[in-house]
């Protein structure tokens, strides 16, 4: 099942299948990519903030990255374990 990172729930994991580019998200997108969010890389949503489940903490390339859900909206993940 393909889901945007912004829609994932705690415990979900999978490889990044697609990164949407548009000029609005370009600066944050480049930063995300520098931190390791590129196609084919496995990510796992390990924490959600209390109350609102936003921001989230995502494991990528061995480190833990915190971001707001909207910031992950252009990253599509092929979530494991869902058909």
């Amino acid at each position: 099942m393909k889901l945007r990172l912004s829609k994932m729930r705690k415990g979900m994991a999978g490889k990044i299948s697609f990164i949407e580019s548009n000029l609005d998200s370009a600066p944050i997108l480049v930063r995300l990519m520098e931190l390791g969010f590129i196609e084919g890389v496995r990510v796992e949503l390990v924490r959600e903030a209390p109350f609102t489940r936003d921001p989230i903490a995502v494991r990528v390339k061995g480190s833990l990255i915190a971001l707001r859900r909207e910031e992950g909206a252009s990253i599509e993940v092929d979530v494991e374990g869902y058909q």
Binding site: V30, L35, G36, D54, A57, L64, A66, R68
Partner: protein
């Protein structure tokens, strides 16, 4: 003299290595025109090999300057820090020469991301020595890495180190200074980044391809070099399960903040009393050595009283910094920002903004200095502009004086736990007002003057580490120095000016005989009379006006100024040993409740702290923002006090 620039990701142990290399003797300043902190220091001679020292002794040339550049994930500038790092490496900052050598520091446990930055450095064709840090952690986590192969792949000298205890640092220094400075030719890399338009933010989509390309190369190197990945840090995860837990995470954050406040207000009281006592003692001692006269008055009433009133905050500031550095170095601070992000985001701020605002409850100065961790310029400015609304400890003496004089010490809501003290409730309300005003102002600023795209949260939650006491000590000493230097310059000169205003011109004998206080005819007195028409609408008379003048330099001085104005600081009061009580009696007979409430409201808001203005000037590198701060808060305070005064007069 040669320059080595240290470059690396945030949290890679760069600063620990820098402290080790320089022995903690460092110069902290700013890059010209911007607010990015510049740290540099000389390479400790005890780390230099014998032959270099011998050679140096002959030629007089063995000075190596180390510059610690801001932590960065990449050299494609998106923040000011990154732009500075990149410009420095290209020799584009005025007054800075091109570094002779770049020391890249990489955290072994997140080697892929570190190599990404190293590749970018190599693309820029700067001479690089790579230090693989966190050897201790990597070993513990059973990481296996083929250093020789990595050397071959990157074609740069590589040293394994553990900056935390200095393992391998001596070898690193040897490599650094014997390394022949050659620009590496890397056949592996074909995508040189454009060296033009250095400070411009790179937003174009080709940046995306460059990033992907670089990561593919990192992946190729990684596959050849890393034989065994480090085991994931089970205990970071285990701590996070509690610290970021939907329920216990919030509880633990409250507990941490509670401890911080407890420490700031209770633990600091004892050393603060010592300092107070020591300054008074020294003042008296020195005063006794001097003959009566203006010079003695200047030294005792002016300099010692003025500088002393600020020095007593040193313990509080150091305790606060101790906690901030401890929380930052252990990795908790990022978690706190994570937990607070939603709330801060509501007023358009980054989760990190909550630390400076919290710090400002001790004193706005360290709070404003702590805004440096906020990357976005608008976010940072907003935080700086609202930080002075936090109820700093200098307001407490004034709150205390007015509340105990005017608010009856009775219990309200007796049905609840035997009732709540009304005085305590008023104090709490003043704190609460400070928070509400700060968040409200932040919201308005972000929607008007500092309007712009919402800043991103995006940050790393680093693995938990046991903080290095060495680093902690260095940071504390550094902060203490900054604070003392300020007390020795700005505050000292202000104290002298204020003393002059209050003392001169001396009253003539006729005025003294009529029992008028000396302050009446002084410049400060004239200023008070001059201010009266302006402050009458908010319920203050000329005597409050006089007290407001020195109170502008430092809030708590208001108390002693009022005492002087109401002439209660006479010998009898001192003999009774409680001049505060005498002053309170005088105030109750002279003022209406409305005036007292209006003055309290004034104190919640008004920017009555010259040191804050000075630090805002330094942190924003312009006079525009401190001027704006003064204007907006003074106007705000005036309007709020006006409303308070008139509502109170009508209703109470």
């Amino acid at each position: 003299m040669k320059t080595i620039a240290i470059v690396g990701n945030p949290n890679c142990g760069k600063t620990a290595l820098f402290n080790y290399l320089t022995g903690g003797k460092q110069k902290v300043g700013n890059y010209p025109g911007v607010t990015v902190e510049r740290k540099s220091g000389y390479l400790k001679t005890s780390l230099l090999p014998e032959e270099v020292l011998e050679l140096g002794a002959k030629t007089g040339e063995f000075d190596w300057i180390i510059v610690d550049l801001p932590g960065t994930y990449s050299l494609t500038p998106k923040t000011l820090d990154e732009a500075i790092t990149r410009d420095f490496l290209m020799g584009k900052i005025s007054g800075e020469k091109l570094p002779d050598l770049v020391l890249a520091v990489a955290d072994m446990t997140s080697i892929e991301r570190s190599l990404f930055l190293v590749l970018e450095l190599l693309e820029m064709k700067v001479p690089v020595v790579l230090a693989l840090n966190m050897l201790d952690l990597a070993k513990k986590r059973q990481m296996e890495i083929d250093i020789e192969e990595l050397c071959r792949q990157l074609n740069v000298p590589i040293c394994e180190i553990a900056a935390i205890d200095g393992t391998g640092v001596k070898h690193l220094v040897q490599t650094l200074i014997t390394h022949e400075v050659v620009v590496p030719v890397i056949s592996l890399l074909q995508t040189p980044v454009s060296t033009e338009a250095s400070a411009e933010l790179s937003l174009d989509l080709s940046a995306r391809d460059a990033v992907v390309g670089r990561y593919r190369k990192v992946e190729a190197i990684f596959a050849k070099v890393v034989k065994r990945m480090p085991e994931p840090t089970a205990w970071t995860d285990r701590i996070d399960a509690w610290v970021l837990h939907p329920f216990f995470g919030v509880i633990s954050l409250i507990a941490v903040l509670g401890l911080l406040f407890q420490a700031m207000f209770n633990w600091a009281a004892v050393p603060a009393d010592w300092i107070k006592g020591a300054i008074k003692w020294a003042g008296v001692l020195l005063g006794n050595q001097m003959g009566e006269g203006p010079l003695k008055s200047l030294v005792v009433d002016g300099i010692f009283a003025g500088v002393g009133s600020v020095l007593v905050f040193l313990p509080q500031i150091l305790i606060l910094y101790f906690f901030i550095v401890l929380l930052e170095d252990s990795g908790y601070m990022a978690r706190a920002a994570f937990l607070m992000d939603r709330l801060m985001g509501k007023v358009g701020l980054h989760g990190r903004a909550f630390i400076p605002i919290l710090s400002s409850y001790a004193c706005a100065i360290p709070g404003i200095m702590a805004t440096r961790t906020i990357e976005d310029r608008r976010d940072r400015l907003t935080t700086i502009l609202i930080a002075p609304l936090s109820t700093c400890s200098a307001r407490l003496p004034v709150y205390g004086l007015l509340i105990s004089a005017f608010i009856p010490n009775t219990k309200v809501m007796t049905w609840l736990f035997g009732g709540l003290g009304l005085q305590g409730l008023v104090m709490l309300a003043l704190y609460f007002l400070g928070i509400v005003f700060a968040l409200g102002s932040g919201l308005i600023l972000r929607k008007t003057l500092l309007r712009g795209p919402k800043a991103n949260l995006l940050m790393e939650l680093p693995s938990y580490k046991i903080p290095s006491w060495r680093n902690l000590l260095f940071s504390l000493v550094e902060r203490a120095k900054i604070f003392l230097r300020r007390a020795g310059t700005v505050i000292l000169s202000l104290s002298i000016v204020l003393w002059f205003l209050v003392t001169y011109p001396s009253p003539d004998s006729a005025a003294l005989k009529s029992g008028e206080s000396a302050i009446h005819s002084s410049y400060a007195g004239k200023l008070g009379h001059f201010l009266e028409p302006m402050i009458k609408p908010i319920g203050f008379d000329w005597r409050v006006g006089i007290a407001l003048v020195p109170g502008f330099a430092a809030r708590e001085v208001m108390v002693s100024a009022l005492a002087t104005v109401y002439a209660v600081e006479n010998k009898e009061a001192e003999a009774e040993g409680d001049s505060t009580e005498v002053l309170q009696k005088a105030l109750v007979t002279e003022w209406s409740l409305a005036t007292a409430l209006s003055l309290l409201m004034w104190y919640v808001i008004a920017p009555q702290c010259l040191s804050t203005v000075a630090v805002v000037r330094r942190e924003t590198q312009s006079w525009k923002w401190p001027a704006f701060l003064l204007l907006y808060l003074t106007t705000f305070a005036y309007v709020a006090s006006y409303l308070t005064f008139h509502v109170a007069k009508a209703w109470l």
